[in-house]
Point group: C2
Chain length 564, copies 2
Amino acid sequence: MVSTKIVVIGGSAAGAKAAAKARRLDEFAEITIVQKAPDLSMASCGYPYYVGGVFNDRSQLLCTPAGVVRDATFFHKAKAITALAQTEVTSINRPKKQVTCRNLRNGEEKILEYDKLIIATGAKPNMPPIPGINLEGITTLLTMADTDYLRKICDDKKVKSAVVIGGGLIGVETVEALQLSGIQVTVVEMLDQVLTFLDWDLAKLVENHMKSKGARLLTGKGVKEFVGQDGLLTGVKLADGDVINCELAVMAIGVRPNADLAKEAGLDIGKFGGITVNSYMQTSDADIYAAGDCVEITSRISGQPVFAPMGDLANLEGRVAGENVILGNTVTFPGTIHTGICKIFDYTAGSTGISIKAAERSGLTGYTAVVNASPDKPGFMGAKILVSKMIVDKNQRLIGYQCVGLGDVSKQIATAAMAIQGNLTVEDLINCDLPYAPPFSLAIDHFIATAHVMQNKLKGRMTGISVQEVWDKLDRGEKPFLIDGRNPNEYEEMHLGIGELLIPIGALRSRLSELPANKDTEIICFCKISLRGYEAESILRAHGYTNIYVMEGGIMAWPYPRKK
Amino acid sequence: MVSTKIVVIGGSAAGAKAAAKARRLDEFAEITIVQKAPDLSMASCGYPYYVGGVFNDRSQLLCTPAGVVRDATFFHKAKAITALAQTEVTSINRPKKQVTCRNLRNGEEKILEYDKLIIATGAKPNMPPIPGINLEGITTLLTMADTDYLRKICDDKKVKSAVVIGGGLIGVETVEALQLSGIQVTVVEMLDQVLTFLDWDLAKLVENHMKSKGARLLTGKGVKEFVGQDGLLTGVKLADGDVINCELAVMAIGVRPNADLAKEAGLDIGKFGGITVNSYMQTSDADIYAAGDCVEITSRISGQPVFAPMGDLANLEGRVAGENVILGNTVTFPGTIHTGICKIFDYTAGSTGISIKAAERSGLTGYTAVVNASPDKPGFMGAKILVSKMIVDKNQRLIGYQCVGLGDVSKQIATAAMAIQGNLTVEDLINCDLPYAPPFSLAIDHFIATAHVMQNKLKGRMTGISVQEVWDKLDRGEKPFLIDGRNPNEYEEMHLGIGELLIPIGALRSRLSELPANKDTEIICFCKISLRGYEAESILRAHGYTNIYVMEGGIMAWPYPRKK
């Protein structure tokens, strides 16, 4: 029997996974990984945590859970896979089914034959041609080399000030890492918010937390130039002319598919520059598969191709490619529902499905969104507030969920992700059976509570108004009648100070005379999380007031300055 | 307009929720809660945490998140609800639509008229007529009075030894509370395991953890008698004659519906003794609804009525009842999928859907189960091992999931619960899109990894054998050929010592000669979590061995004594 020859280009997440899966399905296949970088199977999502000193043993980024470094010897012995590190594939010869590769240490060229080829060349950073971009002190955080460079900077404690350009996932994780190392970090983000998987309102809560940890945030700002002296970075000049002095700049304005090889080989490329694959992870060449950050996959929400460079998806895609190269096209990868999460200091931010922003961009209509704040567990178990936004389509099917806060966001997002994948509707969610015990949740879990608020809104029992709408009204000089339904002691601790009248919910029925005589006057109710705001609406409606709104999420969702 | 008269019997979870919901839907309804206990809206699931000193402010068990005690004044002011505490309903007169109640402080009787009645009388403890059960020192942990009694015992530090009878949810939570207070606790459980929502194998891992925290566990033991002196408890005599000396015994052998009033009123009662309700939470009397621990609800797994006394369900049921008494039968409660969770010291145990035990009990066939162990996140982020059992039906639809361990069990169970409610199959789960970042999960989440193992098993790529089957083989004197695929340093740290041969996976291909010459010999492979055990199976099969098994979950799922 002639053994199948499998060549895998790229040995990080998708490539290593594909190779391992192929091996498990065919002990006698000849499997070769060609990896440009010196390391294999790097846990690249862990780089910021090593930089930030969450752990100090660098080899943990390269280890199996049993503590064995996944180097060429490991691949050879444990997987019977030949792994050629520091080796670059320079071309793919499709007619001959060969790849040419070059050993980067000694320049030697080598031709590898394949029956099936898997391309897992990953992504490369967006590096716009900003003047000065080659100064020393400018880096990305995408490779082990970047990681070592930044870790040394953190350890050396010489750099005092850094600029992180870009407020996406890697950007904010880098901010945390550097700031925790004692470096004063400024984030420069071209858009009007960090973390674009969140809508603006929730992103602002994240930004407030980052600021509370000492990071500076400049949103809506572009970089014009890197300023330097003697080849060393000394500052970042913004488009508005301001200069931020710094000795370090981290470029984190996103990545794009590293699909050059595939393109040169004539494979189909999609509109985001990623390799086009079908659901078998097969390219336009039936003998070539691709997986990971170099491909475009399907959005399960829109049905359209998207570029989704996420480590978890890369592994799943690699697993599918690895199986199909051995067994033929037997398994499929369904695509992404855009689930993402990140930790930012003590805060977590996550999202799954579609955001309002994404819905608007795609022209979706008829959806309903609601913001809800509530504790993640009982006060006596150390409750932390979560702020979530739930989005349902016109059939009341869950299509999006975002959550931020100090509490257990991860469970919320996992719950929502499964609900989206199960095509569940609000009707399903309001009575869903989630695990409850005081160490883990409220009797009515935050997720279910959010569905309840959504249901109240959909049934017309709660007329929501967003914090932005309230802010905009005030900004326009409007003077809506504002009721804060909390108790005086709560008010003393914290309040918005935007002209609100404090009427504790328990006193509202007896203090209706303090409300406007004209029952059509616009009245906006809120409290800390707007549960009492909602109760106030019910009471006022019953007493004939016709124009009542509840400020969704209450003070906990208010991202603007508070008086106290 | 004449206002609707709503009477709610019971003011804990379901009753208070129903009353509050009714109020929000009808500001002018006349709503009265009649509550036998002195307190209202008690967070009864929090009792063990107050007893154990997790928090010290008793009022937190009775507070809103804003810190207001939910007493009669609160209900009056904030909800315009009349709450009659320490008042017992003595009878329901259905023809007259009246309830008679008695003030327990002064004995005064009162008749309340209702248009709609909600019965939320909760549950009562099983208290078998064991001799000596009235001795001082024997209690339950179901009421505020019990809680105060036990908290005082913990604070007084006089009691040295306690017996908890029953190893269910409340039992194990009580064990933790008492043990953390310095009391030596012995659990006496009639069945052969604690926490019957788990199968035996996972329950044993929980028991091992409890033992590691100093608790004593006696399973398969019945209580014959409470022994005392001068009216005070001095010990518990078991059916086998052994006596455990103790000054305190907590009865926690479950609860049953408190449906006496409903029964006396002639309402339909189900086979578990709970009030029969339809999906509107309506009893056999169209004007009487019921919710919470006094009712039977529908199992969404079996379609059969079940008794599911859980605080979260009680709240959801109450919400449904509260809406329907005001608006007519507009909303339904779909029932439970049997989701439960509890914390036991540093461990968490949770379950949703059906267990093997429940499947066998109900005569279900054609299902497949698999046990998987894997870390909850990367090693460098402080990984903790989770051990899960996944069960799918003959159509590969997820019908059950159990998880135990030191890691984030709560997210696993929530994820599985939503997957069950979404009718997802293994095919859906293997590529599901869950939130991934190193602080929260592995690139392939434990839940997805478990689905992968299930898929491998279903496709015949992994032939699993359970730890029990292996143990039973050894117990019968069989000598299967056992391969531990780990490295020598891992073996040094921990090993089973059941006759296994250590062959690191990386050496297996070159050490095949050490295996039995007869390739039909039974060989059982494992490692710490049996991922390498699975790889070993693939290798051996490819080399012609025909009778290979992987011990599911590996050493991490092994509940029996280890040599090291």
